[in-house]
Symmetry: C2
Subunit: 124 residues, 2 copies
DNA sequence: AAAACAAGGTTACAAGTGTAAACTATATTT
DNA sequence: AAATATAGTTTACACTTGTAACCTTGTTTT
């Protein structure tokens, strides 16, 4: 029986850090997220909610809890990507890619990367 | 001064229809959305919220209002796509495309389309 | 005309999200 | 030990979203 885990925008910031540094403490998370301007309370709330959602688990071998992700970044990304494509592009991947390619506001670098990627893929 | 218009998942269904059939009435919208199982009330709420958000406007030349989109589908798609990529892929378009290409759960048809698209683009 | 229906307007209510204060308990520093 | 800092727990509160009922008024059908 699968929980419909939805990770909100703010929660993603926490997850990103935990994916890079699993088994972090609140203090470490807080330090990593200084740029966000969130109060410590807010960060604790986000972590708690992620735990409730079973997206994050607690290791309490030490006196201070350490938090680590229970879901892989790739899985979460795919899940979000799918629901996004369904919502916005009627489920059509190619419409998304077309739209991306037509987006003139991509930076030079992004366009370049996209094209090179596309090139690489064509060869496989 | 720009409103931060966010169109929710349910609201997208209404917008999609209005993009295809601008100047529709509630009754027409309702007919188009039978598949959703929403009550008429729900549909009216969604339309009203879209009007409040200024994503949709009202033409009241006739006795029954006709609704039409104020935002283009392409603009909304781009906006959603950008915020999605920022949230989930740290703003990296190429990470998204890589992830898509690596997704084994794409259908044959999707993969095919993606590759052909990629192929076409490579030639431009 | 009376009844039925369609459309517009008002109100509702629970879940999720962004954001945080306050309280408590534990650990570290003076 | 007292003071301080850190972490964990509880509570809060406004806004958005999904979902809808109800009320009123105008229109169509019997």
């Amino acid at each position: 029986m699968k929980k419909e885990v939805h990770i909100s925008e703010s929660e993603w910031s926490v997850m990103e850090f935990l994916w890079d540094y699993p088994l972090s403490t609140i203090g470490e998370i807080k330090k990593a997220l200084v740029n966000t301007d969130w109060s410590e309370s807010t960060i604790k709330t986000l972590v708690r909610r992620l735990v409730t959602k079973q997206a994050v688990a607690i290791n309490d071998e030490e006196s201070t809890f350490r938090y680590y992700p229970l879901l892989s970044r790739q899985d979460c990304r795919l899940k979000e990507t799918k629901s996004f494509i369904n919502r916005v592009y009627n489920g059509s991947v190619s419409m998304l890619v077309t739209s991306l390619a037509a987006d003139s506001s991509l930076t030079e670098k992004e366009t370049e990367e996209l094209l090179s990627l596309i090139d690489k893929m064509g060869k496989e």
